[in-house]
Symmetry: D2
Subunit: 337 residues, 4 copies
């Protein structure tokens, strides 16, 4: 079997991680090309990872015949255009979330994907590839906790990264689009259902800078899903203890909690602060393996002719839902889907 | 200092516990009389607890000169009438929750209490007297976690008591009045604020019997408080693991979780099920000490001339809020306070 | 039933606590007299607890006809003499540990107790009356974990009380006698067996002051019991996190751990130190209820004519064992019992 | 940089895992050859992992010019001979533990390694490459917990694999050699010291089959190290809850616990058994990443010319210590080193 030759696009923090993962932690794949507008970062990374093909132009990358697939970790605003162009060039496409920055863009991406049924498209909802989330999902799917009653999910970024969050605020789309999309995806994945209503609140509790973008530093919403499951989501940027992504699924017969302590590892410290576990610092630490697993799944789909379980429709649907949550939050009203 | 002579009214499960506590676990108090309509239970209990004065009539109890105070653990529908009568008879009054079964009743109770400023009236929101809740409240009050961002509180009864819950359903008033009142009280106590809006959902996920009373077996609500604190409450009757009362207060600078594992004690079991903690079975087990503490505080207020921190106004306000939650749930709408 | 009239002897920290407990947290008992050589402390405490009979002389106390029982919390060196005298005066006796400061003293106490089979004698091994230890013991006794394989028990005092420990070092008898006696008692209680061999080590890891008394600031021993159960005990005075008393019983079919986190209460703090539980500060906090329960059991034995499960023989045997551990430690050898 | 071409020897359970890891989870390495006496297993595995060079003869493998290094996961009795032969053939050598089955063998291996200072030799003490153990070791090395007081380490295999353990008993060398070697290595690594005395006990608590080999199903030992650190090790084959490897290091200023709950992942289950974490099933699950890391470190040493921190001396020394523990256990005496 020939290795899937991947061109990785974008060398920001996550892009760099994906490139490194493809270079050394993947089966049946090779990092065949790198693409970034920053030429010096491109050269430095390509040298380090021993990648020969280097592009500052995305168009030239996808024109390259020695590339089978692209992994898009470019700025969100470029996603849909690049997805369409790469597919048109006959490349399989893995795109980091979000699918697009507007629902209209997502619909265009959906059309582009549908127009190329022979190519693999996958969206990077990495939490689905975390072993704890997968383990919990298997149990739910096997009926071990019975009918879903309440789905609760938190996405909290550490306060210590708040300056970066403030700087990114004009482009983030707000917390529902930037952070809660992962929780929305999980809610749909775990419940197998879709939202019917949403009420969303929140505000700027520590950092008034977000208010000018109609955003808060902490927000939440309560949704009723079509199967009657209650869904409570919370997204915050001021977590004191670290990067906290936790989920609880209360079923009629059992309850599962995933990462209710975002422990860094298996070490427990007993000192003057009590008995404590230190926490994950950021998404790269917490979802280290999940980021490998998701791209590996993309590769496996290509090599085996399967289609990924995370579809372009999921990406579009999650964006639609996040926009309704955002509207409910901005208007302070109850909205129906 | 003379002991406060208490007449305890009602010998149901909690009433019996209060009577036993007053008889043997209280300072500066004595169980001077017992009152219950069930004469055989009354005699049996009074014999066991060595109480001489025994009444099947509440009116006769409060006419008794050798009683300083009454503890009401009678059926909810009798509370307001008994409160008014006891106060009129010059007795200090401790009443179990709820204050009354309608808001109108609560207002009458409020008037009765206001008409007797010389007497102590206290309502039984026992969670405020649990050492863990008190410890957390002290930290919040001291500013240790900063401004409150999200207050989340669960009240879950074990599935194994579901038959009792179904039998009581016609009289419970629904989960917001029956269970969530404690969480509403905590939310007001911890945030020092009042609700502004509420959206409530839920349903019958396992036991359709509750639907005929416009109730669910699991319900939740999201409230925005006047200080912008987000408040998420969940009440359920199908907890698989035990009696689960847990609360989380996310502040801008720190987070507290109270009883996120409703552990029965400090024993950890390692067996074929993994590493586990067994859970509290019911409210009497979980709040054993809190039930003592609250009546002790009532007694201390009488002996020292203080007024309790839990007022009749708290009782009325919590009922008002619970009724609005109930309406929001029944109508499926967003309501403002 | 008449209340058991108790004279409490010794008003140090634990003595004061016992006196307060008897005064207000006990059924069928009353604090009838107090005895301490420090007259001002005696008067102050007796005033506060409303105790009329006050003695600076132990002999006068036991001569008092209105006392049924004594609770001895006097200096260890006085225990055996006071036990014998009180029994001779016809009083029931509860004595705090240790039974005596030498094995010979313990044997004399044993004889005194045997000479008064009509009187109740009980020794204060309070851990047996802690609800978590009782819960675990019930499981072990019921065979739930199978045959005991390894019994591990820690007694750690917080570093922050080290100055007190150093000051008390000349009189403590060393850690095996001062601290590990509780663990030795638990080992015998849980395994139902007796030690056969012991190897003990340790030293002064932070505080060389203990060396002059042939003691260490941290010590441990490994014992083989007659039923082949392995017993590992650790006693330390430098715990950074609080007062840590934990026990693990590994059985052939299951494992129990008691208080592996010496959590102060059910509050979990999430802050810059991670996710943490604050710890108990001292024995009075950790064993608050156990101290009530043990004296209540003493009272119940008196009122019902039962004999306590903790006997004078247990006290003597534990002292004998602790002395052998101490010898093994001091000589650096393996000893047989 | 050319990839290190590795020949992997032995395709038992762990051998297979190493082969798979080298094939797909390693940087700068390739699985260049496989060797096993079972030809059908060899062919099947080599086909699956796409390895062209296949050997049923170890001698032929090391004669192959296209191999830079060997990874030995062969039967323990072959280790020292194969180490010497591979080194003599100019190959770098990674050997799984134990170094040899007798101390004499270990010494021969040591000589062979010393005779080839230009080649990399590394022993597979994988726990040192587990991220939690590394994290803890960094803290200890940085002085965060102060002087080591007590080192406690458990190695427990699940009861459910007992039949395999019984079958392997004639060849295992007993629990000190088979299991406790890892804990001995950790004790030396964490304390930076060597044992001075040891007392060891244990027995057959559930499975008398081990007695005929002078082994037990559960054993323990207490050692005094030269730096006065107390070291308590426990090894058992009857763990009810899973594969339990846990370590505690009590320092004079802080305490660390590694994997005190051998949790499978971050999922917590709340059901009729309480609140629980499911446990790792075996060493391959618990140390999955560590097995990758250790071989990666071997490869990195080869490519960078470094020498591994785990040396042949460590392997010899650990074997010497384990043999003394075994003797102490068999004779029931205290031994000095």
């Amino acid at each position: 079997m020939n290795k899937v030759r991947i061109g990785s696009v974008g060398l920001g923090r996550l892009g760099l991680r994906h490139a490194e993962n493809i270079a050394s932690r993947m089966q049946n794949a090779e990092l065949a090309a790198l693409c970034d507008v920053d030429k010096s970062k491109l050269e430095e990374t390509a040298d380090r990872l021993e990648v020969r093909r280097r592009f500052t132009s995305f168009e030239e990358l996808i024109a390259c015949k020695d590339i089978d697939a692209v992994v898009l970790v470019s700025p969100s605003a470029l996603h849909t255009k690049q997805i369409a162009a790469a597919l048109a060039a006959g490349k399989h496409v893995f795109s980091e979330k979000p699918l697009g920055v507007t629902v209209e863009e997502c619909r265009q991406a959906e059309k582009a994907v549908e127009a190329h049924p022979d190519l693999v498209f996958m969206l990077g909802f990495m939490r689905r590839f975390d072993e704890s989330y997968q383990y919990a999902h298997d149990k739910v799917a096997a009926g071990e906790i019975g009918r879903p009653v309440l789905f609760r999910s938190y996405s909290q970024d550490p306060e210590k990264f708040i300056q970066g969050a403030i700087a990114f605020a004009p482009h983030s789309g707000g917390q529902f689009l930037d952070m809660a999309v992962h929780d929305i995806d999980l809610a749909r994945w775990f419940t197998g259902s879709e939202p019917e209503t949403v009420y969303a609140i929140g505000g700027c509790y520590a950092h008034p800078e977000f208010a000018q973008y109609q955003d808060g530093d902490n927000v939440s919403c309560l949704m009723k899903f079509k199967n009657d499951c209650m869904v409570f989501l919370f997204a915050g940027r001021t977590a004191p203890h670290g990067y906290n992504v936790e989920t609880e699924i209360i079923g009629a017969k059992g309850i599962l909690r995933i990462a209710s302590v975002p422990q860094k590892n298996l070490v427990e410290v007993l000192d003057e602060h009590g008995v404590r576990k230190e926490c994950s610092e950021n998404f790269l630490e917490r979802f280290d393996t999940a980021y490998v697993n998701e791209v590996q799944e993309f590769v496996n789909c290509i090599t085996t002719g399967r289609k990924p379980a995370v579809t372009v429709y999921d990406g579009k649907r999650v964006s639609e839902i996040a926009y309704v949550c955002k509207s409910a939050f901005e208007q302070g009203v109850l909205l129906k889907f």
